[in-house]
Structures are given as C-alpha cells and as structure tokens.
C-alpha cells in the first residue's frame, strides 16, 4: 500500500520563559492509504503537538518544528510556505478536535462554516456549496439538514456539533483525517455513534486517519495500527494485534495494565509509578527508565534504538537487545490483554 504520510525524525519545541520545551523529540511513523493509526500515551506525551505540527498549526511564534520531515505524498510539508499550507489544509488534510462545544464559531451559521472550505478549495458557488453542505449534514446523519444548515452552533447538542465538525473536516474529501480525541468530551452512547460514523465514512471515502485517544478500547475498535508515545517519542508501534497481544515496551505494559476492562474481576488497576519527565531537561538515557521497574543499567545511560520485533512491530527498549535478560510482562498485564481482546472482538466481529 502506498504511504500517504511519512514522518521522519520530527522534533517540535516550544520556547517558554523557562527555556526550550522539547515536546516532540524525534518521531518516525508512516500512514498508509485507507488505514487508521491510533496514537496513545499519557497526557503531555506529545500526541496533539505531533498532529498540530503535521498541519503546521503550532501556536506561533513560540512553537516550531525544529527538525525533521513530514512527507505528504512525497512533498515535505515542513518546507511549504504558509500559502501552500492554506491550500492543503481542509482539502488534503483535515482535523477534528476534542471539544465540539468550543470548536465551532458561535456567531456563524453551521452551513456557512461547512461551505467555507468548499468555496475556497473547490471553487464552488455559494449555491452549490450550500447544496453540498446539506448533503454533508445528511452524511453525518443530522436530521432535517435543510433546516439545520441555517442554524447556529448553540442550537445543536454536543454530539450533533461533533457531527458538524466531522462534516466540516470531510467537506473536501481529505486524504488524511486527524482526529484528536474526537469522542472524549461526549457521553458513552454518543461516543459509540460517532465512532461508527467515522468508520462508515472511512470505508466509503478510503480516508487515512490518525486517531488520538486515551481509550484503548476505542483503539481496539477502530485502529489498524497503534503508536505508543512517551515523553515526545514513539516507544512502540505496530498493528493492534502486535501491541495488544505481544507488547514489548514496559511503558506499553503499564498502559495496558492500567486500563479497566469489562470482565476484570479484581478492582485493583496497575498504575505506572512516578510522573513523566520534564521536557525542559529530558533525562539521559531512556526517558522512561526512572519509572520502569524492569530498567536495565544501560537504560539510564543510553537511549534505546528502535528494535524490530516483526515485520510490522517495533519497540524502543533495551529489553529487546540480544544480551538483555528475558523479561515477561507482569501477570496482571497479561490478564488485561486478554480482557481488552475480548472487549474489542465484539465490534470488530460485526464488521466481518
């Protein structure tokens, strides 16, 4: 399959009063046509910053791409002018945000907000754009789209607004859709509806999706591949099966262990001890070493490279080095892995 997006050694920093915050410290991944890549990781691990950098929407002037390449269909987005990026945004790459209550302009009619990118990118007349906006509202399953198109955001519920945001993002059939926790702010039933909607639309349009979430159940439900981020780096990446059934990085073990599952009898969850490192002065060696109960001596001195586990599966931990002792994930984590697998099998089974 062809690569829509190739991210190579991406580094993003923020200049703050206290110095340079290295929010993203060398991220590599690619995104194939029509696939969904989930990015998971603790708060502050750099998920949002990575995706904002892809769209070159970092807050100016203190946030900037320090190094690296973002190849979109072979074209390096890091080197594009602002004008060229404006042509790309909303047309080739779109974004859905976390909070539907604040991500729509409160004083602009919903229809106009959808029409804006149609008029800009597809050179439609207002009449054509309005027709298309109604179709899009219909596509995202908003009842009475002819009426709704003339309403303002405050006349919509949270779930409805997120559908509008999705309609805006999909207006020009983007090749890449970035969804930054699109369901976190919604209640559980609405969450499921929005996820189903996104899956349907993806199938129809063959869009590539980057999906950021904290919910590993959602990952199992929607993603083809998963990238686990920690302190501005991807520490493990692979197919959902690779990462959920055969996790290699102790941080991934921690994440899986800390996730509640439907059929876990014991109340006690595995919590990762300590706090993430200070990105103003990232520690020497593996950034996770101080919280890692399985850390080796070398973890405190040298950063591990990406070790290849299988054709699709990579992890950055010294445990995969040929001289490393053979360490298995803790039993409680193994148990959870099975639990997550069973929650995931329901929705996945439906699709077949």
């Amino acid at each position: 399959m062809e690569n829509m997006l190739e991210v190579k050694n991406l580094k993003v920093s923020f200049d703050t009063h206290n110095g340079e915050v290295q929010a993203v410290r060398g991220v590599n991944f690619n995104l194939k046509k029509g696939e969904t890549l989930a990015i998971v990781g603790e708060s502050g691990s750099g998920k949002s910053v990575t995706t904002k950098a892809l769209m070159r929407l970092l807050p100016k002037p203190h946030g900037y791409i320090k190094e690296g390449e973002i190849l979109f269909e072979g074209m390096d987005l890091v080197k594009q002018s602002n004008k060229q990026m404006q042509k790309l945004r909303g047309k080739d790459i779109s974004m859905i945000f976390q909070d539907p209550m604040t991500s729509l302009n409160p004083t602009m009619k919903v229809g106009n907000q959808i029409m804006e990118s149609l008029i800009k990118h597809q050179k439609m007349s207002r009449g054509q754009a309005k027709k298309r906006a109604i179709e899009l509202l219909h596509l995202v399953q908003i009842p009475n789209p002819e009426l709704r198109v003339n309403q303002f955001p405050h006349q919509f519920s949270g779930g409805m607004r997120q559908r509008v945001v999705i309609a805006i993002a999909l207006a020009c059939n983007p090749k890449v859709l970035i969804a930054d926790e699109p369901t976190t702010a919604l209640d559980v039933t609405i969450q499921a509806e929005i996820l189903d909607l996104m899956k349907d639309i993806q199938k129809e349009m063959d869009t590539s999706i980057i999906f950021i979430t904290h919910d590993l159940g959602v990952v199992a439900n929607v993603a083809d591949r998963v990238a686990v981020m920690y302190a501005g780096k991807i520490v493990e990446i692979g197919s959902v099966d690779d990462v959920f059934y055969n996790p290699k990085h102790p941080y991934t073990w921690g994440l899986l262990g800390s996730m509640p599952t439907l059929d876990s009898e014991e109340a006690e969850l595995f919590a990762i001890p300590g706090t993430p490192p200070d990105l103003l002065n990232p520690p020497e060696g593996d950034a996770f070493s101080s919280r890692n109960q399985f850390a080796l001596e070398i973890d405190f001195k040298e950063e591990p490279p990406m070790f290849q586990v299988s054709e699709t599966h990579f992890a950055a931990t010294w445990l995969l080095h040929e001289y490393a002792p053979n360490i298995e994930p803790p039993a409680s984590v193994k148990k959870r892995m099975r639990g997550i697998a069973s929650t995931a099998s329901g929705p996945k089974g439906d699709e077949q």
């Binding site: 929407l57 004008k83 790309l88 945004r89 974004m95 302009n105 990118s117 800009k120 990118h121 405050h154």
Partner: protein, 309 residues
C-alpha cells in the same frame, strides 16, 4: 420581542420619574435661591418674583405642580433668561453637544477598534506596545489636559484650527479630538484583550485547519466575536462622553448643553438644571436600551433566547 420592548419602556419611564423626583428635592436642598446673586433687588421685588415663579408655595405643592407640567412636556421657565422656556433653551443647545458627542464616540470607537486589532495581531510586537502606550496615556490623562495641549499646539502654535467658539465644522474638530481620546483608549484596550482571547480559541484553530487565510481568520471569524462584548461598553462610554462635554464645552466655549449646565449651576437656575439633568438621564436610559436591543441583533445566541420568550 414587542412585549420585551414595552416592558423596557415602562421601566425607562419609572427611572425618569425617580430621577425627576430626586433632582427636584436635591435642588431644594441647595443653599440660596435664584435671586441670591441679585443684590440690587429690593425686598418687595424679591417677593414678587418668588411669588411669580411659585417659589413661595410649600415644597410638596411645588413638586406636584412641577410633575404636572413635566407630564405635559413642559420643563418650566428659566430664571436666568426671563420668559424663555427651558425646553426651548435646551433645544437650542443640544445641537453642538450632540455633534461633538457623536463625532467623538463614533470616530473614537472605530479608531480604538483598529488600534486594538493591530495590537492583537502584532501581539508582543512593536504595534502592540505602541498601542498599549497610547491607550494607557488616553485613559490616565484627563481630557481637559488634552484640550489645553490641543488648543496651544494645534490652535495657537500651528494655527491650523480655531482655538475655541462654534462657527462651523472646523470648530468642532479640536473639542471632538479631546473628547474622543477616552473612548479611543478604552475601545483599544478592550478590543485587544477580546481579540487575543478569541484568536486563542478553538474555533479559530478550526478555521485555520480549514485553510482559511489569516485575513479571513481575523476579520471573518475573529472580529465579530471580539466585538460583541464591545457593545456592552458603548453605553458607559457614551455616558462618560456626556459628562466629558461639561468640561470640554466650557474649555472650548462651545454653546452646548454642558456649557449651559455649568452656567445654570452658577446662577442657581433650577428649571434649567433639572431640565438638563432629565435630558441627560433620558439620553442615558435610551442609549442603554438601544445597546441592549443591538446586542440581541448581533449575537445569535441572545437573539434566539429573546425570540423564544
């Protein structure tokens, strides 16, 4: 909506009634009579005049008479200019004041918005600090200081514009500028703050993510949202201009309401004082009402709430 407006007009009348009452009794508390300054009058002449204007009646009677005339739109007769109705005096005076007030408010607010906008777009840049400086100066230096400076430099030194008096548009320029500094500074600070907040909000990121260019982001998505709250300070600004005219008209010898008011206070001309007070109060409540209605027009969230009820 119509019901809402009727209700507001009803409250407006009550407010005016209260102000008329309060100003009437405050007048009575003032020391002296309109004749205090006239020491050439004999005791008898005084009696005749007090009798003629009903000033010998008990105060409750005076009050009822006053209200009765007020309801008919009669503000009474001036003591100072014999036999001229207060209404007529105020009518002659309102023109220059209104012109100064409107010029200062409209131009000052527009310039302030532009200045605030530039500051927000150029956040922490040269323009931002420049406009902050202008705004702080404008808010902290009283308008009569500006008036004096303008008269001296532009009027006397450069001789570009008349120093004082009222005889055509060019006479209104300096007093308007002196008056507009405050609304300009206030609007600039306010617009800057609001705009910075709006530009940092999520829907602006959404707009950028759609590929909207910077101009569109600022004007199409930003400005309207930033200006809605500005409407709320226009009312208080207009009021501050009304009080500003008291001083500025005096300095520039503009024959407006403010100057009339000050000279009436000097001569204890009760009917004119009360008439001017009532007129100011009336303008004030009407402006507030208009602003409230305007707010509903430009903010769709409020429009709906009003429409439902």
């Amino acid at each position: 909506m119509a019901r809402y407006i009727m209700q507001r007009i009803f409250y407006l009348l009550i407010t005016l009634f209260l102000i008329a009452t309060i100003s009437f009794f405050l007048m009575k508390l003032l020391p002296g009579t309109p004749l205090t300054a006239e020491d050439k009058l004999s005791e008898e002449q005084r009696e005749i005049i007090l009798e003629k204007y009903g000033l010998n009646d008990p105060e409750p009677i005076q009050y009822v008479n006053y209200l009765g005339r007020l309801v008919q739109g009669d503000l009474g007769i001036s003591f100072q200019f014999d036999n001229r109705g207060v209404t007529q005096i105020l009518m002659n005076r309102i023109g220059p004041s209104a012109q100064l007030g409107v010029q200062a408010l409209v131009i000052g607010t527009i310039l302030g918005i532009l200045l605030g906008l530039l500051a927000a777009i150029n956040h922490t840049g040269f323009l931002d600090y420049g406009s902050t400086f202008v705004a702080v100066m404008g808010k902290s230096i009283p308008s009569f200081v500006f008036a004096g400076l303008l008269q001296y430099f532009v009027g006397v030194k450069l001789g570009w514009l008349p120093v004082a008096l009222w005889d055509g548009f060019e006479y209104s320029i300096l007093p308007s500028i002196a008056l507009m500094i405050f609304p300009l500074a206030t609007a600039a600070r306010f617009t800057r703050t609001e705009m910075l907040e709006v530009l940092g909000s999520d829907y602006i990121t959404t707009a950028r993510a759609k590929g909207v260019n910077e101009l569109g982001v600022v004007f199409k998505h930003g400005l309207r949202n930033a200006l809605i709250p500005l409407v709320t300070i226009i009312g208080p600004l207009a009021v501050s201009l009304m009080t500003g005219t008291l001083v500025i008209e005096q300095i520039f010898a503009v024959p407006g309401l403010g100057e009339q008011f000050v000279s009436s206070v000097m001569t204890n001309d009760f009917p004119v004082i009360m008439g001017t007070t009532l007129l100011f109060a009336f303008l004030f409540v009407v402006i507030i009402l208009i602003i409230d209605l305007l707010y509903g027009v430009i903010d769709p969230r409020i429009r709906l709430a009003g429409g439902d009820k």
